[in-house]
Symmetry: C2
Subunit: 356 residues, 2 copies
DNA sequence: TTGAAAGCGGTACCAC
DNA sequence: GTGGTACCGCTTTCAA
């Protein structure tokens, strides 16, 4: 691990009154008790919710605590009870959608009294494993996996240790873990519908090589339904789930004759890169010559340069559900909840010719 | 706080061998010791770096630990020694630049053996206070403030409790805390130089109402130097540090006659909104009619729709410095390190007429 | 090398 | 209501 050496290079707490120089180290309940002239138990009770302390004692304790700068040690508390720690496992944190997920999750967890340990992982299993072990080391009460691909065995270790495990937008549906996901097939179906209604004839689909369950599902449904209707779909997979991959996809698709006039990009980031190249390098007008649908509704999709029609994930609702799950703990552990993506209408798809 | 009730609603560990049903709760060293037929001390030593265990014992312990799924309890360990926890205080996490900071910081901290607790705060002092108290509750060894405005008194509480405190890009230079910042005056100066070299005559500056030390400094230097040269600068402050504010700023600046032809936006996000409106709503060509310089070098600045000339913060180097600071702990606690922003040349500023 | 025992900071249970 | 005590899980002397 780390190569740090420093230990308690400072006066022990009980030397406090004597030395009084640069105290260092944390204040303990014992110190507060001494100063307040009460027992440690009294101090503990003062800071415990269902207490039973006289107003008098309470005040003395609070005064002493304030003067000393006392803070209850949750590490010690977590020794007997729950640690109140939630581990958030996430990869690709800089992606706008992921950043928002982390933002919303941490915010809601915090508001509900949890403390969040963020484990930032590469997508590969190895680094997730290392990370998850930390989860266990710190006795997290729960692990929430936003992304990355943890090995089933490790998740099982978390479960075996009594942790709650919540998987978001992933397929591995392990016994004992809760899963929440966005209804990707709905998005795929709806995307196709939007493009068809706009009168698009030559359909394209742009995806990444990440091949996440979510991505694959969106693609599958879009393509299947289209083909069932006798429509061909040109599928392009240009690289990771990035702006650049979207740009590359556009070059491939329009580099040959007869490019598509309606494209579903399984991610906004792909869509934005795709749009830029379609316009700049191939002179296509959006939505006149080309309609584009994305997924995620990242902030940039609303920027004037794009105005991308897309689907929003109900992130706040999803986070609320996670928090509820954790707070219940008993409540229906091994379930799967599906959230409906919300279509966001902007200008990258033509208004559509009503045919009713 | 939270309203959760559940306690150890499960068989005690020592019932394991007997009941063997849905074990739950964490495995302890004692259980490993029993199974391995050694003392608890032996188990502890096996997992301590400078151990002194016979190969035989070690193997027995590791076998038992593996079978039981044992993980050292860092909470208990942190009771006597350092907790190895670092608190990362951050606000506005969805902002691209902030997301990257969090990403890089967590990654490097992790790599160096630290575990990161993320405290997501509104920018207001109150919520930061609440958050920082958590820091103390969990006995974090250090607190790293990426953004938000913690009250000086709380920071002092952290310091008094022996925490290391590192402030990034903030001005509050408290005794005992380390500060790292980007050289904002250099950026302001350089931005002005770029615009002048491009032949811009009517200068503008777009900032936000956040009035961070960093933002103020960039503005101050840009404006001061320009005025010292007899050039006037129109300063616009449209709202928070967002894309929309940049857009609004453009509307204000170009809504009247004789708008600027060279603008320094103190943040990329402002710059991108500014560019979109300048082009779409006022028909200005960039860089022919209008030159724009930003700051941060967020990913979007490199997108084809923008190609913004800007300054990058050397985030990796900064994170490395933070980690070094934490690992040293002794090393020059109360210092301030300045990092040079790196100019990134793109196409939002004209090549510039050399005049040498 | 090993095991026993003390202590880290709290909370819960116990009499008083 | 209050203080004493046991115990949470670990590391660390200290003898053996």
């Amino acid at each position: 691990m780390s190569a740090r050496v420093a230990r308690h290079d400072c006066a022990p707490p009980w030397a406090l009154g004597v030395i009084a120089v640069k105290t260092r180290s944390f204040v303990s309940a014992r110190m507060v008790a001494e100063r307040a002239g009460v027992s440690r138990s009294a101090v503990s009770r003062t800071f415990t919710d269902g207490a039973s302390v006289s107003e008098e004692t309470r005040r003395k304790v609070l005064d002493a605590a304030g003067a000393l700068g006392y803070h209850v040690n949750h590490l010690a508390r977590g020794l007997r009870e729950r640690s109140n720690i939630v581990c958030l496992v996430v990869s690709n944190m800089t992606t706008p959608i992921r950043a928002r997920m982390v933002d919303i999750m941490t915010r809601q967890l915090q508001a509900s009294g949890w403390i969040t340990m963020v484990i930032n992982t590469e997508t590969d299993t190895e680094s997730v494993s290392k990370a998850l072990r930390q989860t266990l080391n710190y006795r997290a009460d729960a692990t929430v996996v936003l992304s990355g691909t943890p090995s089933a065995s490790l998740i099982e270790a978390c479960l075996a240790n009594g942790q709650q495990v919540v998987l978001i937008n992933r397929d591995d549906r392990l016994k004992g873990s809760s899963t929440l996901a966005v209804d990707n097939s709905l998005a795929g179906r709806e995307a196709l519908f939007l493009l068809q209604r706009a009168g698009c004839k030559r359909l394209g689909l742009v995806t990444s090589n990440a091949q996440t369950a979510s991505l694959v599902e969106r693609e599958r449904v879009f393509v299947d339904i289209a083909r069932a209707q006798g429509l061909n779909v040109t599928v392009t997979m240009a690289g990771p789930t990035t702006y650049e991959s979207g740009a590359d996809a556009a070059r491939r698709l329009f580099g040959r004759s007869n490019g598509p006039d309606g494209v579903f990009c399984v991610t906004d980031l792909l869509a934005l890169g795709f749009m830029d190249v379609a316009r700049d390098e191939f002179g296509l007008r959006i939505p006149e010559d080309l309609c584009v649908v994305g997924f995620d509704d990242i902030e940039q999709a609303d920027w004037r340069a794009y105005q991308l029609t897309t689907f929003a994930q109900p992130l706040e609702a999803m986070a609320t559900h996670v928090v509820d799950l954790l707070n219940d703990s008993e409540g229906a552990s091994s379930d799967r909840k599906l959230f409906e993506p919300i279509p966001i209408w902007r200008r990258s798809v033509r208004p559509g010719v009503k045919t009713d």
